[in-house]
């Protein structure tokens, strides 16, 4: 391949704060995570920080048209475009490719509760009841705040990113494929610059419910990821946030004088039956060549079974390498978790500083990393790895 890919823009909104600097500070200062254990008890969640939406979504009308996940994503996308120096440059946004990883948006819990209450009260014709309530009670444009591809649609409208617009679905795997596809297209000359990312709103009962269908959520007081197996519940603490990356062809970035955070090598992804996972992880490690990494950044969700599988693999393959599990600070931001781990790795490279230990079980590190391996296992399915490095050590 004649082309290589670099990260020139990062937009992050998590419980740690808004923007690169606030998030980087929280990753290096040993501070306690921000957790709300009351609002959705017994489930702790990492809430979104306070945000002045108008900084990235100037029109009130646009803000009103979005539900929380879309606002988080559109805001983070704006931060990434600003960071890359692309925002407002219509020649660049008009040719920019976009891949968003998304699920669906929040439902109207009040309307749902109305229906559930009448049905529980003994009304037998539930089909008619549903029609009656939904036709009269739903906000007409709510659908547009729920549709999977409308985060991308809002980014097009607010930030004028219109080269192309694709939305991948399927939880963590959606983002793995999104970053993989963006990098592969750039390396093959099919694209010069791409906006890739996701957002998730953990602060909604219906969003928690998805995880709890298979009892993945941790309960009670918050504990670090490595200690959750001994706690109550399934180990996953959900977090709100949005993360977007600007990934660019190296020559394209150089030509416009863009600053480069880090290089990103081809992403390897896979999925399959549980018993084949160790072999798949070995293959991904070989393909991405991350054995030389100075640090591993993990996008692990905390969900017990897959967390244990990842921990076993990492301890066996990279026993000496420091590992940083971002979920300790942000919770699991689902589709945004893999882009988040990549962003954290890229910042560590760019800042020339390791990420501080994020829980007691993590080894200290002192040297500036030149290569970081990112590992991601979805909470139920899908695995990915990628090598993030200083541009001079990219492959």
């Amino acid at each position: 391949m004649a082309h290589s890919a670099v990260i020139t823009g990062i937009g992050i909104v998590t419980a740690m704060g808004v923007g690169i600097e606030a998030n980087w500070r929280a990753l290096t200062d040993g501070s306690a995570p921000v957790v709300d254990t009351e609002r959705f008890a017994p489930y702790p969640v990492h809430p979104a920080p306070e945000i002045d939406w108008s900084e990235q979504i100037p029109k009130r009308g646009d803000q009103r048209q979005m539900e929380a996940w879309q606002r988080l994503g559109t805001y983070a996308a704006g931060l990434a475009l600003d960071d890359a120096g692309i925002k407002g440059d219509e020649a660049l946004t008009g040719t920019m490719d976009m891949i968003v990883a998304a699920a669906g948006g929040e439902r109207d819990a009040a309307v749902d509760t109305m229906i559930l209450a009448e049905a529980a009260g003994g009304r037998a014709d539930t089909g008619v009841l549903i029609n009656e309530k939904l036709t009269t009670e739903l906000r007409p444009t709510l659908f547009l705040a729920q549709l999977s591809n409308l985060l991308a649609g809002n980014i097009s409208i607010v930030h004028k990113v219109t080269g192309s617009s694709r939305t991948f679905m399927g939880e963590e795997g959606a983002a793995m494929s999104a970053v993989q596809t963006a990098v592969a297209r750039i390396r093959a000359g099919q694209s010069t610059h791409a906006l890739v990312g996701a957002a998730f709103n953990a602060e909604h009962a219906d969003m928690l419910l998805g995880y709890e269908m298979n009892r993945h959520l941790a309960r009670g007081s918050w504990t670090p990821v490595a200690e959750r197996a001994s706690g109550e519940g399934g180990g996953l603490v959900a977090g709100s946030g949005g993360v977007f990356l600007v990934i660019e062809e190296a020559g394209h970035a150089a030509m416009r004088g863009a600053k480069i955070h880090a290089s990103i090598d081809p992403v390897s992804v896979d999925a399959g039956a549980e018993d084949g996972m160790p072999a798949r992880l070995e293959r991904l490690a070989e393909e991405t060549g991350i054995d030389d990494a100075d640090m591993i950044v993990s996008a692990n969700s905390g969900a017990l079974a897959r967390n244990a599988a990842e921990a076993d693999f990492v301890a066996a393959r990279w026993p000496e390498t420091p590992v940083r599990t971002v979920a300790n600070k942000t919770g699991h931001v689902r589709e945004a978790q893999f882009p988040l781990a990549i962003a954290v790795a890229a910042l560590s490279i760019a800042k020339g500083r390791p990420v501080a230990p994020l829980e007691d079980a993590e080894k200290p590190a002192s040297d500036a990393p030149s290569t970081i391996g990112v590992i991601a296992l979805g909470h139920q399915v899908a695995e990915a790895m990628v090598r993030i490095s200083k541009p001079e050590t990219a492959r």
Binding site: G127, E132, T141, A152, I157, S164, G170, T181, V381
Partner: protein, 426 residues
Amino acid sequence: MSALTDRAGRPLIAITGAGIVSPLGRGKTDNWAALTAGRSGIHRIERFPTDHLRTTIAGTVDFMTAPEDGSAALTYALAEAAALEALEEAGFSDNFGGPLFVAAPPVELEWHQRLGLDAEGAALGEGEAGYDRILAAARATAHPQHSGNVYFGSTALRLKEKTGARGLPVTLSTACASGATAIQLGAEAIRRGEADRVLSVGTDGSVTAEALIRFSLLSALSTQNDVPEQASKPFSKDRDGFVMAEGAGAFVMETLESARARGATILGILEGCGEKADDFHRTRSKPDGSPAIAAVNAALADAGVTPSDVGYINAHGTSTPENDKMECLSLTEVFGEGLGGVPISSNKSMIGHTLTAAGAIEAVFSLMTIRTGTLPPTINHANPDPALVLDCVPNEKRDAAVTRVLSNSFGFGGQNTCLVIAAEPA
């Protein structure tokens, strides 16, 4: 023997398998017979009560799964049927080995599941009806049987197991352009040299009361319920919205080189794909049509052809006032007045709007148009819109030798994707 690469030196992409399910039936043979006979698949909804609904008609597929199985099960069954038909035609068994791209509708718990969970919570002695009680029920017992309605990647992961596709399948949504995007992603993977063959599927079995109400609240649906089969009337003056429908379409695509090497029948060539996002509005197109125009031009450029090389256009043609006007305006810009005489017809006049599946289903019909030399009609064309100057192959099919088709897909959220499909080069 013709070249194996295009002008840009990229591998030519052969279509070697195609599969389809629509309201008209299962499989290409039945579908093509019905489509070219001008038969409508739109009917009164029987799956759920229609009291209080402004629209009571749809193109539901009622012959695949039982109504109580729900939309996730139907969406999968449709995808599997189309995929297996395509794989069988291409000569691949259950060990396909290439990557899989699936355009699938968003999922969520269905109402019978929410009601059931709330009742479980009540039986546990939990307080009032609502999400707290539902969450209590979920905490008490795992509900893996609901996974298909929780995980957006479920359909693709099941289909990967069934077909032996490799790796992590891509599930995608670009709204009503999704099916075309699945084909585009597959074509790009082949061009990057990542795979010799790919399976691209678009599927949608999501006609539920809530989905219908959501589109209804956006005033997107036809309310011409009296004669269901006449409600979808693209390019007619009295068109008033689309008719929701279900179905699936699938392509097996591979490099022309590998298809010839293994002696596969070449059904056609996927020559080009083009896309452009619209930044104007969440449901309306930019008034000058520039994004749709750019998508059409990008597809033609990607295929290395000019408008005069196109013999037929498979319209997006939803039968909404907005789409048909904007599609005609955009195509007029590219093809000239009267679209330069290029015939254009809308499959949706018969099958309705299969949403996530539409781009894939219409790509299959585009391929069949080339292979049979028959243009499917736009039915229900009794009252032409005088503002739309085009040859929409009104009401009756037409024989015409066609070697290249442009297939359009436009969707909410500013999605515009076009495909160029051609006959095998001589």
